[in-house]
């Protein structure tokens, strides 16, 4: 990639043609974006590898080169592990707080605070009640909603014992967590304890710090995030297969465009509802628009795509690009992964930049809070002001680029699609893994990162994996990336290896399944646990021919996710930017071999996508070998005696 400040060959920053088209406009108009700034600002090489410790005022200490210890005597290992744990804690806090907001929304519905507050999935409500130890017998829906909300909220503040959801993990895994002392007690407690551990002069042993990271991350994966997913399914519906399309082409020339961006579905859901009110449509028409078009960005897009089929305009790196079309009346955001740069880009257009979370005011944003208290009123105000902004549109340039896609592959839907209502299960998945048609399963997850060529790593890794008969499940921005590049259509099976294609043909699925947002990585955990429970592939998540890849990761949440996946027993490969603990080769190696030995999972940083694929296939093949399914399975024919044993 060129080091020039001015990038003219935009194909080098992204393989998505809309990026080049939009960045051309930005360049012409002298508007800064993440893509231009990333070239101006070099990453701090000391910070990037955890050579820097700034937890006390005797430092910051740059423990690089000839230095092995900071002023207080903390070693490179301690500093790397401590910084890592802090990042994991920040990621876990963000995800889990998201889960708390879902619980608060549920509670608000139970007490009637949200106008026309209803829930969408009563079956899931009953099931979740069961997980949380609530007997649903004889209770009316709203009573149960209230009890589930209270029990969910209690999971955050719980001080002792074990999180309720850990019981959904394989028994062997639970025992391992207990024996390693990493069984999470309460969500908030583990995050607070992580901040405490990393305070100056506290935990200063990298084994202990990294166990702390596992425990903290598990409190998110099997706690905050899993609650977020479940409660949102109750609130807004458990996803099932749905059609949509992705990329900037989903913006409308003729309609009022409202872009929802961030992470929590409450905002999107309220905005969508408001746009469907006849009074709003009439207002839009009166101002010359054909209607109102709500599209999504980042994980808000994923949440509303999975449940309502709302089209994603792009992944995280598309946020400024969307505004550059000149067609966005309102960019409405809540939390996480929202660039402050949006404030500046919006100021060059008529776009109204609205922040809605009490936790996130950004620059000079118009701040209208949409939370569990009276959210409909606030959403109506935003939509009304967006419509009223329509006449202020000037030049509009919407790239005519979008790809159709299928999304909606929740754990429940995957079970359904494999057996229908009456035979719903993961059995066909397991059997086709055992018989080798599916070589393994890879979760391609995470972000997009301006330090890499946008979409390049995700697209190439996904293509390579499916060509090698690896079924891909995708979440977060990696899922949107896959969608933008046409990898989420069933027709994509054409590019899958022959045996994977047979399975795709049988079920009618794309070889890449969109499983949801980044909190929905919890769906991958419950799917893995179900794979184990279904049988034939061992008794723990560790050992499954499954691997997770985050080819374009950028956030602390990504590190948190990686860590809970490792703690759950799976191998994780990050590519693109290098290891955040590279200043300590010992810690870097421990995350591979030490964690493998202790948890059966590992976290490795492999910069080049093609190397990441080779490593992923190796890990999958090794797991197949250990399970003795690397050779063709013999057909067992049952005689009467064998049938009696069944």
């Amino acid at each position: 990639m060129s080091d020039d400040k001015t990038v003219t060959d935009f194909s080098e920053v992204s393989i998505d043609p809309t990026a080049a088209e939009m960045l051309q406009i930005a360049e012409e108009r002298g508007i800064e974006t993440v893509f231009s700034r990333v070239r101006e600002i070099k990453p701090c090489s000391t910070g990037a590898t955890s050579g820097c410790c700034k937890v006390c005022a005797m430092g910051p200490c740059r423990v690089i080169g000839k230095y092995e210890r900071g002023v207080c005597g903390a070693t490179r290992e301690t500093i790397a592990a401590r910084n890592f744990l802090r990042q994991v804690a920040a990621g876990a806090a963000a995800h889990s707080d998201h889960g708390r907001d879902a619980a608060l929304a549920l509670k608000a519905i139970a007490v009637g605070e949200i106008e026309e507050g209803t829930i969408a999935d009563e079956i899931k409500l009953v099931r979740v009640a069961g997980y949380l130890g609530i007997d649903p017998t004889g209770k009316d829906v709203m009573t149960l909603v209230g009890e589930v909300a209270d029990a969910a909220l209690a999971q955050f503040g719980q001080q002792a014992g074990e999180l309720a959801y850990v019981a959904r993990a394989p028994k062997k895994r639970q025992e391992l967590w207990r024996s390693c002392g990493v069984m999470p007690r309460g969500v908030d407690r583990e995050i607070v304890e992580s901040m405490h551990r990393t305070h100056v002069g506290t935990d200063q042993n990298y084994h202990s710090l990294l166990d702390g990271a596992i425990k903290c991350a598990l409190s998110d994966g099997w706690g905050g995030s899993m609650l977020a997913t479940d409660l949102q399914d109750i609130l807004y519906g458990t996803p099932k297969a749905i059609r949509s399309s992705a990329n900037l082409g989903v913006l409308s020339e003729s309609k009022v465009n409202v872009v929802v961006h961030g992470h929590e579905p409450l905002l999107a859901s309220m905005i969508i509802d408001a746009t469907r009110e006849p009074v709003m449509t009439e207002l839009a028409k009166s101002l010359g628009a054909d209607g109102i078009n709500v599209v999504g960005l980042c994980c808000t897009a994923n949440e509303s795509l999975m449940r309502q089929g709302i089209a994603p305009a792009g992944n995280m790196l598309h946020q400024e690009l969307a505004v550059l079309t000149g067609a966005v009346e309102a960019m409405v955001v809540d939390v996480q992964c929202i660039f402050q740069g949006l404030d500046d880009v919006s100021s060059h257009f008529h776009t109204m930049f609205v922040t809605t979370s009490p936790k996130a005011v950004i620059g000079n944003s118009l701040h209208i809070v949409v939370d569990e208290h009276r959210p409909r009123e606030a959403a109506r105000e935003i939509v009304r002001r967006a419509i009223e902004n329509f006449p202020n549109r000037k030049d509009v340039h919407i790239p005519n680029v979008s790809e159709p896609l299928i999304a909606g592959f929740s754990h429940e839907y995957i079970r359904y699609m494999l057996g229908g209502k009456m035979r719903a299960s993961l059995n066909p998945l397991n059997e086709n893994i055992v018989n080798g048609r599916i070589r393994g399963v890879a979760a391609v997850v995470g972000c997009s990162n301006a330090r890499s060529v946008q979409d390049f790593a995700v697209v190439n890794i996904v293509r390579e994996l499916i060509a090698n008969n690896v079924l891909v499940v995708a979440t977060g921005c990696a899922a949107i990336t896959s969608g933008k590049h046409g990898l989420l259509t069933p027709e994509t099976m054409e590019y899958a290896g022959e045996t994977l294609r047979e399975v795709c043909e049988t079920v009618g699925i794309p070889p890449v399944l969109h499983v949801g947002s980044c909190v929905d990585n919890s769906r991958i955990l419950t799917i893995l646990a179900d794979v184990v429970a279904t049988g034939g592939l061992g008794d723990d998540i560790a050992g499954l021919p499954a691997v997770a890849l985050s080819p374009e990761w950028f956030s602390e949440k990504a590190l948190d996710i990686a860590t809970y996946v490792v703690g759950s027993g799976a191998h994780v490969i990050f590519s693109g930017v290098g290891s955040p603990v590279a200043n300590s080769p010992i810690v870097e190696e421990y995350m591979i071999s030490g964690w493998t030995e202790r948890y059966g999972g590992s976290l490795r940083f492999i910069k080049e996508p093609q190397d990441a694929v080779v490593a992923a296939l190796d890990l999958i093949d090794n797991a197949r070998k250990a399970l003795k399914i690397d050779v063709p399975q013999e057909r067992v024919l049952f005689d009467m005696d064998m049938r009696r044993e069944l």
Binding site: A241, R243, L418, G419, G420, M422, T506, L637, R643, L646
Partner: protein, 727 residues
């Protein structure tokens, strides 16, 4: 390519649904919404619907909810591009098809359009058939069934396929035609005997009638597997792992065939097709492949068996006719008969005896007297079949066990009829069998091969001598008669008190996983197939098999037949679910029941007595329930005091309900059962001092309600009324 199948199946489901909806509307118009609707003699309503949804369809309007349920399952046909996943929806479409088809076929019984039963087509299998045939699925004599749709390319191939499946012991359920030609019609045209007895069962002319195959399978899960109606997950899981069935699609596969096959796939029943339709090879819903196509008729049956994951052991016996249980029910009519023995026309007997190893020449088969070829067609011959066996573990107690096997072993040969036993033997060989070269020595070949195979643990050597020389027959019959008499003495002396061990029987655990029978000398197994000696021999044959010795232990309750050892055994085997079990009581810890019992005893509280109903009796009983309903309440391995399944032999046992006062408690039984049991009961009635007791017992000709029974037994002075109160 399976999108083609999905699309066709979903189109077919819509078509079946629409036709059923229209037929129901017409029926409501003609007969009214409250018109009763039922399939003949079943306690499971419309069994597929009842099993999968829990809905009891009793009148036309009850079908509305079923069709609404089916309608919710009916998906859209997959779009040409950007289709949504279709496997799950296709399976839903299949289930919707089955629900609609069952309504459709039940409506035929009301509107007779078309008539569900004709000279050829049999219509629905009732509960008697399901339970009786179910036993064969239990003991392995029927490894599974083939649901045949369509027709073979020609009649000859149809016969060959049918014979092949019969030899592999499979039931063949036929429904559906290929462009106007049906498999059943092809067999009928070739003079093949059709019906339950020959395992070639023509259900109906349209593919819809395959619902009776599915109904059979669904009831098996409820009757034998103890699955509750509406628990569709377990109904289907039971079928996938225990009912080894498959669909043979012969000819052009229509949308409605696809739809029906999709329903079968949810049961774990794959489709094997002769035409070049797309395949579905990846596994997961069925045990192995889901749809396999383009298979020639020569390979069809073998391929189907492999696809279903079934292993069928067929012994190769050097005889010129087909051999298998399907031929047991075949009749040999007088005009078709080549030769006949016994049947009170000539002396005939069969006899198994143990000899010292030195006296038995392994494999020697000798015919003493004229062979068949030396006889004129229609000949009457004296006959003695003497089987000499030796073996280190052979005991004289096993002789009658082995001897009783002779009936079915000989009967399994195509064109050979065998009835009776001992010196009441009656045997016929058909002209057809003779023309294929069948000789009496082949009976020897059969017995030699099968006995060595089935009793390999106790028999080392077998020689068979077949006598047709009258003088020799009479001489050997005397020898045999002496042994018969000794055996009878031994049996009479064999009581529950004189043995130390009973035997468990879990033969039906492939089918009824929660039930354990306790077989004692004086209480035969519920299915009537296994007595104490059988169980003992079976344990000797296979010490880790399904008949385990149970040390009686200490007497807990003599009258009720309760022993500490039996209780411990039952408690362990049931995982603590059943802690105590009485062998002779209906009310105190009665034995649990599988699904294959021959009769049910039920309490009639007003009469202070009990009724017994056998599974062949289809009418209403004084308990207010038909046999099928009672059976549904009793099965599934749970104790239900006041209700109990039994083998018929137990009725004549000295230990019959001794806890409740014995046979004197019986106040009602069907007339046919009375007659069938009369001679066996005679000694009991003598002991009771009431040789005419059966005349005091009510039957369906005098009472169909409990009040009616009470009135009748009051008038006959039945002793039950004066006995201790039962409750």
């Amino acid at each position: 390519m399976s999108k083609i199948i999905a699309s066709a199946a979903i189109r077919g489901a819509h078509s079946v649904f629409a036709k059923t909806e229209a037929k129901l509307a017409r029926a409501k118009e003609s007969f009214g919404a409250d018109a009763a609707i039922e399939l003949p003699n079943t306690g499971y309503y419309l069994p597929v619907i009842y099993g999968l949804t829990g809905e009891k369809v009793e009148k036309l309007s009850d079908m509305d909810a079923v069709l609404a349920y089916a309608s919710d399952l009916l998906p859209e046909v997959p779009s040409e591009k950007l289709w949504l996943p279709y496997l799950g929806t296709t399976l839903d479409a299949g289930i919707a098809t089955l629900l609609a088809e069952e309504c459709h076929e039940a409506l035929n019984y009301l509107d007779n359009d078309p008539p569900p039963v004709t000279d050829l087509w049999l219509g629905a299998a009732d509960d008697v058939i399901m339970r009786a045939r179910g036993v064969e699925f239990v003991d392995g004599s029927a490894p599974g069934f083939a649901a045949v749709v369509g027709a073979a390319p020609d009649n000859e191939t149809a016969v060959r396929l049918a014979r092949e499946m019969q030899e592999k012991m499979l039931y063949v359920f036929m429904a559906g035609h290929d462009n106007g030609v049906a498999f059943g019609e092809q067999l009928d045209a070739e003079g093949i005997q059709l019906g339950w007895d020959t395992r070639l069962v023509p259900f109906g002319r349209e593919v819809y009638s395959q619902i009776y195959s599915i109904g059979f399978a669904t009831r098996a899960a409820m009757a034998f597997g103890g699955v509750r109606p509406g628990d569709y997950e377990r109904i289907l899981a039971y079928n996938k792992s225990r009912i080894f069935a498959f669909v043979l699609a012969l000819g052009e596969v229509t949308d409605e065939w696809y739809a029906t096959a999709a329903g079968a796939i949810s049961y774990g029943f794959p489709t094997i097709a002769t035409s070049g339709i797309p395949q579905i090879l990846p596994t997961g819903v069925c045990t192995y492949e889901h749809v396999v196509s383009n298979i020639s008729c020569d390979e069809l049956v073998q391929r189907a068996i492999e696809v279903r994951g079934l292993k069928i052991k067929v012994l190769d016996i050097p005889i010129p006719v087909s051999y298998g249980p399907a031929f047991e029910g075949e009749r040999v009519r007088k005009e078709d008969m080549y030769a006949e023995a016994g049947g009170q026309k000539t002396a005939a007997f069969e006899f198994v005896r143990t000899l010292d190893a030195s006296e038995v020449t392994e494999g020697k088969i000798e015919v003493v007297g004229p062979e068949l070829e030396e006889l004129e067609p229609g000949a009457l011959v004296p006959l003695g079949i003497v089987v000499d066996v030796s073996g280190r573990k052979m005991q004289s107690d096993f002789e009658p066990v082995i001897e009783r096997q002779l009936h079915h072993l000989v009967c399994f040969a195509e064109g050979v009829l065998h009835m009776g036993q001992r010196d009441l033997l009656w045997l016929r060989v058909s002209k057809a069998a003779r023309s294929k070269g069948f000789k009496l020595e082949h009976i020897g070949e059969i017995l030699h091969a099968k006995l060595l195979d089935e009793f390999e643990a106790i028999i080392d050597k077998v020689q068979v001598t077949i006598y047709t020389d009258e003088a020799k027959v009479l001489e050997m019959r005397e020898t045999a008669r002496k042994t018969y008499a000794k055996r009878d003495e031994r049996m009479a002396g064999l009581t529950d008190e004189t043995v130390d061990v009973f035997y468990s029987c879990t033969l039906c655990q492939s089918f009824a996983p929660t039930h354990v029978c306790v077989v004692t000398p004086e209480r035969i197994g519920l299915c009537g197939a296994y007595n104490w000696l059988d169980a003992k021999a079976s344990n000797e044959l296979n010490p880790t098999g399904h008949n385990q010795p149970i040390a009686k232990g200490l007497v807990v309750d003599e009258l009720a037949g309760q022993w500490s050892g039996v209780n411990e055994f039952i408690s362990e085997k049931s995982g603590g679910a059943v802690e105590r079990m009485s062998c002779y009581s209906l009310l105190t810890d009665p034995m649990t029941s599988c699904g294959c019992f021959m009769a049910v005893i039920a309490l009639l509280p007003m009469c202070n007595g009990v009724m017994i109903v056998n599974r062949e009796f289809q009418g209403m009983t004084p308990s207010g329930m038909k046999f099928s309903t009672l059976a549904g309440a009793v099965g599934g391995g749970v104790q239900v005091p006041g209700f109990m399944g039994i083998g018929r032999g137990y009725i004549a046992s000295k230990k019959f309900l001794s806890a409740e006062g014995g046979f004197a408690r019986v106040v009602w039984m069907p007339k046919d059962l009375k007659e069938a049991m009369r001679s066996f009961l005679a000694p009991r009635l003598e002991e009771m001092g009431k040789p005419d007791f059966l005349e005091m017992v009510a039957d369906e000709t005098v009472a169909e309600t409990e009040e009616g029974v009470l009135e009748f037994i009051t008038s006959t002075g039945h002793p039950a009324l004066a006995m201790d109160p039962l409750l």
